[in-house]
């Protein structure tokens, strides 16, 4: 049970029930669809990037608690961050959920996203947590096909 509480922390449950930035952005510079064929999770991500800074970011879609809350927390976290930073955060987040060694500074940098550390105990759920991030990278690279996890 303790691993489960570790996975389904209050923050995660809260963001699953009330996802933040859950809307389409009419005005956006980047956009991508993400799909996890294994469990049917689907999400659509919108970004408004001005001069290398994420001015606004939002998503819509349906998925499990891990993928929905991950998308929600990601959008909150990235608002105001630069594209360059964002790519670093992607690497750090990926290391976090796959259980790779993360230095103190990197962990601190992820702020609230650290709640997803519990995912590393559940290898089958890593794809849920990282779907929104893979979609984000696809949007930034402007790949038009839906992002597949891994």
């Amino acid at each position: 049970m303790s691993e489960l509480r570790e996975l389904y922390q209050e923050v995660i449950l809260d963001h699953n029930k009330n996802p933040r930035n859950f809307k389409k952005l009419e005005l956006h510079s980047h956009h991508a669809n993400g799909h996890n064929p294994l469990c049917g999770d689907k999400l659509e991500l919108f970004l408004d990037v001005v001069e290398g800074i994420i001015k606004d970011i939002s998503f819509v879609g349906s998925g499990c608690a891990i993928s929905t809350s991950s998308a929600s927390l990601m959008t909150q976290f990235l608002k105001g961050k630069s594209i360059v930073e964002t790519r670093h955060y992607f690497e750090d987040f990926h290391d976090l959920v796959t259980g790779k060694e993360l230095d103190e500074e990197a962990l601190e940098g992820l702020g609230k996203l650290a709640v997803f550390a519990g995912v590393q105990e559940f290898p089958a759920r890593v794809k849920c947590a990282s779907l929104s991030w893979h979609t984000l990278i696809n949007a930034l690279d402007s790949v038009d096909e839906p992002a597949a996890t891994e």
Binding site: E3, Y8, L13, C39, G40, G63, A65, C128
Partner: protein
Amino acid sequence: MFDINKVRSDFPILGTAVYGKPLVYVDNAASTQKPQQVIDSITDLYSNHYANIHRGVHHLSQKSTALYEGARETVKNFINASKVEEIVFVRGTTEGVNLVASSYLEPLLEPGDEILISEMEHHSNIIPWQLTAERTGALLKIIPLLENGELDLSALPDLLSPKVKLVAVTHMSNSLGTINDVSLIIGQAHGLGIPVLIDGAQSIAHMPIDVQKLDCDFFVFSGHKIYGPTGIGALYAKENHLLNMKPYQGGGDMILNVSFEKTEFNDIPYKFEAGTPNIEGTIGMAAALDYVSELGIEAIDKYEQELLAYASKRFSEIEGLQIIGTAPNKGCIISFVLEGIHPHDVGTIMDMEGVAVRTGHHCTQPVMDYYNISATTRVSLSFYNTINEIDEITRAIAKVKELMG
């Protein structure tokens, strides 16, 4: 009734624990666990009898061949085919369907011809027909689903026409549990001279199968879903179909005589078994069929129906739980959704309670589309499950609701 404790003790894996909790294995529709008898049959083969089959004059090759061909006899008896020549060993249901699509159907198809399947098919009984249709200009037609998970067989007379060259339907749905009235489908199709393939992947382990009584033209199943090894299955086809079908793959064992100008193909069923086959799988599958026969498929069916009735009752008492697939005639599969909780989360939490369920679309995306859902949680039972385990599952579902609520 059989002795459930004795039965459970035949399956070593059922005595193991997951995260410190006793394993409750209810993912039987995906694959079943193996009894010691099956494990021993493979060990015995490799320890005492193994050599390549059909080719050697030496002692071991003859022993191996006898076991392999004995397995064909076992399959024939299990599904009551009239001849051993009607049993072709394949890798599984999927390969059986592909074999019929390429060797039987494809050479017959003209542009505009139709292949009739149903809305509840497993992807394995959709894609091979889709590929064949693409190559020939034929069309795929669909028998629609009804809300309770039955097929709308009232649509059948309109769907059947001389354009239809084959009907392929599942005997029992792997995502809904529905047992289809295949006798009615076969009767109507045969009325127009249309052959019928039955996907027996799910039905084989849960009900008596008599291919002569069904009068189906083709019947396919997988060994691993009836307590046997993976990588082996069987295709039953009526002799006259097999005689007229072209080979599936070329290679050793499927020929009588080879020169660079011309090859003379072997007799049926060998014509469809190119290369060294899955010898241990075949023998292990026969051991599994013997095991099931010994328990008695009628006794199994009766016990599993009791489990199904109890589980359906317990689950439907859970608030916010909706069972997907409520046909009156069902096998022991229960798919459900929980209000506001994604099946993937349900699966993870139940796993931590030791309960192995399947979550997802179960390779039946058209069924998910019909119900407008992306996934379900599926409990699929077997004769080695118990009433007590169903109580454990019910408790695990309550835990899911508590944690996610």
